[in-house]
Symmetry: D3
Subunit: 192 residues, 6 copies
């Protein structure tokens, strides 16, 4: 078997940290402090500072807010959506975050392969069914979808959250695939 | 034929303008001054102020920046993407903007129905082919796609723009479909 | 933005009116008198007189006969079918006829973009659901489809009508796409 | 194994021959004289005399006219199209006609199962590739499709013929599936 | 119409009988004695003796064992699966076996074209619905699928049988398509 | 977040080791000795001893034979195929084997998410492109597919190997999904 060389982290130019605007550098420093490394998505998107700012503002509005959907469950939505969009970066990076947040070393690989066979509650499967419908057939979303979510205890505000997370990461998946964004090696072992 | 009642502008609560944070009210006032009415997307998304701010910051970063892809061409990307996602709000609202920006009363309906048969240049069709690939098969985007764009005079930065617009409106289409966002009546005649 | 030249009305030869057989000329004169212009479908299909005659005989048998499905509703079937087949000519031409027949300037663009979000009655949506199943999965049509139509007040004869209109325009959509049939400019503003 | 009862020839009422208009009776008598039995499509569609007349006028315009595409080749288009639409009546009835016209007892079953593996010339496979594109992706038909046909000796008029036969039988397939049209037992052994 | 030459029975080398290992020769001799000819699948797969042995051991374990699903019904699963995978060899060869086992000259062509319109019992259609789900959406198979089978009298062991037959012939279909395996002429008339 | 209970290893009965035929017990003892645990596929399939024997004979014929496609590359085919079929057991179990055989802790997660973005050679990507075509469009496999493989140094015998591995694991994926086969916890960390 020939050996393939590792791919670069982006097919686009990646800015040096010291060339970046102060606010972006600060954001990156903060995540590095917390995670111990800089996830490549920060470096790849920093190529476009205005888009970087909007992207992470949106991300935080959806992923950091409190609410009945736990942080681990939000990551399940990200992993299931990203797997259905075949986004290597997001499956691997958010798979790591899911393992950490759920304190479960098995769940990310299960959800990435087939959430229908994963160790999930019926409520979580209903949540992911809705996320998949938003990703693939949003034009058919209608009242019965909301009713099914309600039968599992989700409010309509929760439905917005699920939809928004799936839609936002659908965008993120597309940009990661177009930029050939490479997941950091550190993600693979996180939370195992 | 029975008559169907017009649908509401959102299946979620729509905030009153005077309940909104000052910056969002200002943004809405500005668009109203310019357009003569408030496009419903502003009212529907204002239900979530933080997401509203990130959404429009992202939108402006992609749609208002200068560059070789004209504003009319950017709207072509929006209309083609939104039609492929069957998003009523975006096809009708951005169809109107496309007519205005292209100063062409026919182009929006043509692109919405089938951009391959529209009055477009080969360069514009290549642009929309790439936007469609980003929307539906981004995981297969690779070097030959960039080469084809280059053969039509697009740089890799232009490719990022096309991809980002298609990916952002893919997200927007999903939220519009989930919220059942209704296009304002005013859009239908704009630019005809 | 470069300007694209308008496309011709057909990729096939278009006969001069005075070369056409008398009956076809008479049919075209009649539609011109009524509409004020000659819709391009008449000119494009006149390239094959025998097929022209059969096509319009079939069209009239389905679209002109009396019955409980109104003429506006039949045009809804045409627009929804044609949009799903991405037929520019039929979406734009029959969209115009739908606006006129429904006396509703908004309905055609709504149905073309996503009939599931259009201002339609539940009965009309059931009608279009059946038309879509005929267009895309006719081999699965079975008793439960007829039962659902009956629950909305449609007889089995109505079901035949819906199916036949969807099937006939499926054929028409394919021919319009293969001939690159161009909608007349007049259609765009009709009924708005 | 329980035995299933044979299905009726249509889920709609089938008229008695002596109730039919004279011209339709004459057409049916002629086909019976020639074939030795009345193919069920004549009886099923006779439920709607005006549609019957238009249907067979269209059929004859496409299938009986002289031209460089042989009658056997036209039946290949019908069988390949009908198989892709999963239309039992048309696969079995036109499979029989194909065997007779091609004087080849094997060809119909081969084309129905997978025309890409059938005993066909490259020219015939190109013809069926185009017919399949018309049936499933007509909105993408463009100049390169015509060029490929020309490289196999087909004129653009031939392309119209191939497209029209595929489009017409696409309609026929849908009506046969909706009516649950049953193929006559006689077809199964014809030409073997 | 040009005549196409018959295709060879495999795109891979086909071993001479006397070059084959003794056990494989014996198996082939036995089938020839019973059928009167050697079905090509034996010759094509004999190119790889170890795979040949495993293939037919698996085949016999599924198709020769006793049980409540009749041998004719097992062949229905094979024909429906093979038709959905567009495998010419398996549709034609197992269509012949189905006719023989069901003592019904019509059933194979019906099932190959569209099992939903074939002369089958509701129980048999439920069996084939499950086989199709296994072939195309096995990752979604879940408790409700087993419940539906039970409502038609199938045990869970029967469900395994149906799934295993559909899965095994899905493999067989792929190998037949990749090798361009040609059905013997003898199959076409068997059981008619 | 509610906690979901781990799923059982099969929805079918799992035999006790001491109830199994001697040859099957021996096979299981051998794998346990080598791996340190009994992969669940052995226990789940042992419910049907004859199918078990044929399955593993086939498996070994494809996966254990020498040849120019390395054992790590064969596992790449398994992981890419299993991921496209959404088979949790095979992605996780064979992902582990791939890591071990390739001595690369990253490759399995990359291939499972999107092999087009994985650290693979062009030859390996061509191998997986062919495996995917066999899995999803085998009826279209033709000479150009073999030519492309040859341009990367694969013989036609190698093409058979790739196809057979993809087809065999397509069967395995379907059985794992139908039985809800659960990957052993041990696989998740193997080779990382």
């Amino acid at each position: 078997m020939d050996d393939a060389k590792p791919q670069p982290i982006s097919r686009f130019p990646v800015p040096a940290l010291d060339e970046l605007p102060e606010d972006i550098r600060a954001r990156i420093a903060a995540v590095q402090e917390k995670a111990g490394f800089v996830p490549n998505v920060f470096l790849v998107l920093a190529h476009r500072p205005d888009e970087f700012r909007a992207f992470f503002a949106y991300h935080d509005a959806l992923m950091e807010k409190p609410g009945p959907i736990t942080k681990a469950e939000r990551e399940m939505i990200v992993v299931a959506t990203s797997s259905s969009n075949r986004c290597q970066y997001c499956v691997i990076a958010h798979g790591a975050i899911l393992r950490v947040r759920a304190k479960n070393p098995l769940i990310a690989d299960q959800v990435a392969a087939n959430y229908l066979k994963a160790d999930l509650t019926p409520r979580q499967k209903a949540m992911l069914d809705f996320a998949m419908k938003v990703s693939w057939r949003a034009h058919e979303v209608a009242e019965p979808d909301f009713e099914r979510l309600r039968s599992h205890g989700f409010t309509d505000e929760d439905a917005w959250d699920i939809a928004a997370i799936s839609a936002f990461f659908g965008m993120s998946n597309r940009m990661a695939n177009v930029t050939s964004m490479r997941p950091n090696d550190e993600f693979y072992m996180l939370g195992r």
